[in-house]
């Protein structure tokens, strides 16, 4: 495949200037201004730009934020836990951002982005992103989104649904991963979350005020893969145990050791990232006129979608 810019393709940089409308958008973004960051993340989410298009090496101070992944099955209270973590982290002086991933409907492509009770009390940046068909627990744009956000914040909390064998890519994106569960019977803890258990740097037993919490903690301590991992009990609704959780996460991220990744996971990660990168590059070389032509042709019924994209793809390979 031979990709180089088509003669009349708009260069990305001036297009960005047009898109952001504020002249000093690069400075605003470097400062972490919410509006500009929100729009920047949309570009990343839709594979139109990457971090290096949006930030210069020397525009403003660059932070090297710690990325904490919070994962676990639905109903574990992840959102409530994050809402409790944020003010604790802010009190410690951290500038905090939250990226929350939700699954998309395979049938319709739509998504209900979790109803997150947002507390006005905290000043964190919170952004929801839908998986859009991506398997693995986050979204295809996740690595790039995290890459941008960690330059701008001290602490980035990434929330994903993690309930099975395959929703484990959070471990590649985050510095450390906390797996959240709730008190349940022992079989559930060990069996249903096999796979998830292996990626945990920290375990959290939330809703620890419910019966069975001690038992769950005991089982985790006794488990083969889980025995050496810190286990914390929290009650997210009251904030109990949350400062200790933050401490444990930060400590674990400092002690991060090399982790081997399975070849399956590696292949998935490469394929996903390559597809995203190719789409991004291809989008650049298709002029706006061609886009509009293709859209018109398909909506007028002159062309099926397959033929339209064939034409567009050929442009990028000629």
């Amino acid at each position: 495949m031979n990709l180089h810019p088509a003669p009349n393709a708009p260069q990305l940089a001036p297009a960005l200037d047009g898109y952001f409308s504020e002249g000093d958008w690069r400075n605003r973004l470097a400062r972490g201004e919410f509006r500009t960051l929100g729009r920047a993340l949309t570009l990343i989410e839709n594979h139109i730009a990457v971090t290096s298009d949006l930030v210069d090496g020397d525009a403003g101070a660059v932070r090297e934020g710690t990325v904490i992944g919070i994962t676990g099955p639905p109903g574990a209270g992840k959102s409530t836990l994050i809402n409790a973590l944020v003010p604790v982290a802010e009190d410690c002086g951290f500038k905090v951002a939250v990226l929350a991933f939700d699954p998309s409907s395979r049938r319709t492509g739509g998504a209900l982005l979790g109803d997150r009770v947002r507390m006005a009390a905290h000043g964190a940046f919170v952004r929801s992103l839908a998986a859009r068909g991506h398997l693995g627990g986050t979204a295809a744009s996740a690595p790039e989104a995290v890459k941008l956000v960690r330059r701008l914040f001290d602490l980035v909390i990434v929330e994903t649904v993690g309930a099975g064998q395959s929703e484990i890519e959070i471990q590649d994106i985050a510095d450390i991963t906390a797996v959240v569960s709730i008190p349940g019977n022992g079989d559930e803890v060990q069996v249903s979350k096999a796979g998830i258990l292996e990626i945990a740097d920290v375990f959290v037993v939330n809703q620890a005020d419910r019966p069975g919490a001690d038992e769950t903690v005991r089982q985790l301590r006794a488990g083969a893969t889980t025995a050496t991992v810190p286990i914390l009990a929290t009650v997210a609704t009251t904030g109990q145990g949350v400062p200790a959780l933050l401490d444990a996460c930060l400590k674990a991220s400092r002690q991060r050791s090399d982790r081997r990744v399975s070849s399956n996971a590696a292949r998935n990660a490469i394929e996903t990232a390559l597809a995203a990168e190719l789409l991004r590059r291809a989008s650049r070389f298709i002029t706006a006129e061609r886009w509009l032509e293709a859209i018109a042709a398909v909506s007028n019924g002159e062309q099926p979608v397959a033929a339209a994209i064939n034409l567009l793809a050929n442009i990028t390979t000629s």
Partner: protein, 559 residues
Amino acid sequence: MVEASVVPAKAATGREQWEADFSAQADGRPRFNRSGIRLQPIYGPEDWCAPQSFDERIGYPGQFPYTRGIYPAMYRGRGWSRRMLIGLGTPEDFNRRQKDMLASGSNAVNFIPCNSVFRGYDIDEVDPLLVGTCGTAVNTLEDMRIAMDGIDIAGVSLGMNDPSPFTLLAFILLLAEERGTPWSKLSGTSNQADFISHFVANHMFYRLSLEGSRRVLVDHIRFMNRHSPAWNPLSIVGQHMQQAGATPAQAMGFALSSAFYYIDLCIAAGMNIDDFVHRFTFFFDVSISFFEEIAKFRAGRRVWARLLRERYGAKAERSLRFKFHAQTSGADLTRQQPLNNIARVAIQGLAAILSGMQSLHTDAYDEAIATPSARTARIAIQTQNILAEETGVTDVIDPLGGSWFIERLTDQMEDAILAVIARVDALGGMFEAVRQGFVQAEIGRSAESAQLQVETGETTVVGVNKYKVPDTDDHRTPVDRPNSAAIDRQYDRLARFKQQRSQAQLQKGLSGLAHAANHTNANVYEAVVEAIRCGATHGEVVTTLRRELGFGQPLNLAG
């Protein structure tokens, strides 16, 4: 249905002949009611006849299981309370409208405070644009004094729509003290004490955390039972569920399950069932699904009486009586061609009467879109008056009893209600079922299904998806708004009240309240009344208890 092949060959029976003729003429479309029960085209003795166990299943009014009514004489002894909702503007506005209603046939109070009050605020904590639009702004004892001026609070039953911590009732108690009326003479209901229903279906009313609401409710029940034995400190609200989209059977099933939850709470707090449950009452929607509603309530009475005996060993007669207030369902009313709603309300009201309710509010024709004006409210009360006094339907108790259809439908509704209760039981009771989101999901499914049926035209809504007319000014109802000068005066009044009271007394009252909240052997509601006696406002009481007992948030089921 009798199968022809089973009967030896002879002349066709009337039933068989009818079935053949019916099939030839009928459109073949099956009919279902809102609870999903299939309706036959006709019912006869084969479908239901007075069972051997007539006394167990039907009985007479005032006798277990109360299917036909909870009192022997029903409306021949005492009519139902014509309890019209009133809530608008300032205390003066309330007073004027209430007197108007009392003169027009209403004989009980049904007080709706402003949304700001529901949310636990005094008016100086919210945007003035929102004050007095849908309820009366009452923040202080002084406000209640004005609202009830010239109204004999011991002479009428008082329905107070005010959730935990029941500050508005506290105003009434202190007003009674001022007037020399003993608390034991007061009768009425704490209409919004059912916090489970708020959790599920009407979050506006949910002020304190779950634990806080629980604590205050138990203390409130104890306090009112002691001081005001004719007061119902808990009304379980099936209406919220049905308004949110629950089918009639679901609304009854969930309400009864909620009642069991509250009974368990009181028993755990050391109370004896026959000492408190007779003061539990219910509040339901009555929809325009005419026969279904009647069957729902007949079944509800029967289920309540039986399960109170079976589950709780309740012995006293009074414990087994299912008392309820009914409100005609606003969800059936339309914005289009609003005058049509008068017909709808009349039919819903008739269903309520034939259901044997103890108290009734009939909606004004514009109730779903605005706060009723004096004019539209008067039509609503006259509707009740006409039903009660012109139609003759109150001359006979449970007139539909014995109808093959109604008795069969009552049995079927009972089965459906019991099925809902069983599912809730299987999840560990109503609280667990709500916490796990089961109740909300079931209601959501029913709501979606109902919406779809309207959008496809399968369900007809006259004026909305059939028999539509262009939207002209004729069909628009003018909207009453609070007078902004009067609202300004209300702000001034509150400011003056706050300024003129003793700060020392206030601090004493509020710290006493905080103390009671933190000590389980204290009665929080007693401390609420005391705090108000010390000059606290509604908002100050709620703020204190939110701080000590937790701020109520809608249940967040995600993640």
